[in-house]
Amino acid sequence: MAAKTIDPLHQFEIHPLLPIKLGAVDVSFTNSSLWMMLSVIAVTAFLTLAMRHRALVPGRLQSVAELSYEFVAGMIRDNVGQAGMQYFPLIFTLFMFVLFGNLLGMIPYAFTFTSHIVVTFAMALVVFVGVTVIGFVKHGLHFLRFFLPHGLPIWMVPILVPIEVLSYFLRPISLSVRLFANMTAGHAMLKVFGGFTVMLGLFGIAPLALNIAVTALELLVALLQAYVFTILTCVYLNDALNMSH
């Protein structure tokens, strides 16, 4: 790559760090895997270190750890109800994993694994399949009534049911694409403005200032998308558990 051309997508490339072959399948430890592991370590270390005093009156760090716990717990309670609390560890893990993946990705030269559709789609698919299984286990075949909204005139059934089914199956796609596209677009935009800064020399101060603002926005987006991913998981779980539809 030439020095002064912008390739905003270069940052999303995956390099193998430790080649591993499992039969014919390449499962090398890549930079993506490295950042996944780093975010795992960061989440665990943060929560464990923050709670090491187990103080009755929390310090600053402990407050943040407790806040994240209460935040996810409150989200589940508000959106799913008390019945959803048994899925709390899973949803909390999902939230922290996505959040730290997004936030660690904001470090310059870091790799953002949440900007990979494979990763986000895998997580969304797990959520989707899990929620669907929960729905069928809880309601049996009655869960299929989910696609038949209450009080529907009979002539509208052939129109609306396919739409409901389609929108249901679009859920994992929209869930994963939202996260992936937000992260990709944000980081590509940062890279583009960074390239402008280098290219313009002295006048590069303008895109630099813009880049600072965009960085702040991207931090917000990192938080917001983790929140949205989690709250949509809660909403889907609520649909399966309570069938409010």
Binding site: L9, D78, S174, V177, R178, F180, A181, N182, T184, A185, L224, Q225, Y227, V228, I231, L232, V235
Partner: protein, 75 residues
């Protein structure tokens, strides 16, 4: 037409999706501000819905973005 040129034009057209997302996000937050201005006490109750609405509205724009990326890089 040169396939490369067609791809670029197609990606550009896909960016029009952002207009809808922009209008949607604007409406979501306009409604949020209107609601909070009328009744400030309601803010904590409507804000999650606003963020959810924002995410859903934004997703439509992102589908367009995704479409553009796919046109440019996949085909």
């Amino acid at each position: 037409m040169d396939p490369q040129a067609a791809k670029l034009i197609g990606a550009g057209i896909a960016a029009i999706a952002l207009a809808g997302a922009g209008v949607g996000i604007g409406m979501v937050f306009a409604a949020l501000i209107g609601a909070v201005a009328r009744n400030p006490a309601i803010q904590s109750r409507v804000q999650p819905f606003a963020l959810l609405g924002f995410a859903l509205a934004e997703a439509t724009g992102l589908f367009g973005f995704l479409l553009g990326l796919m046109i440019l890089f996949v085909f």
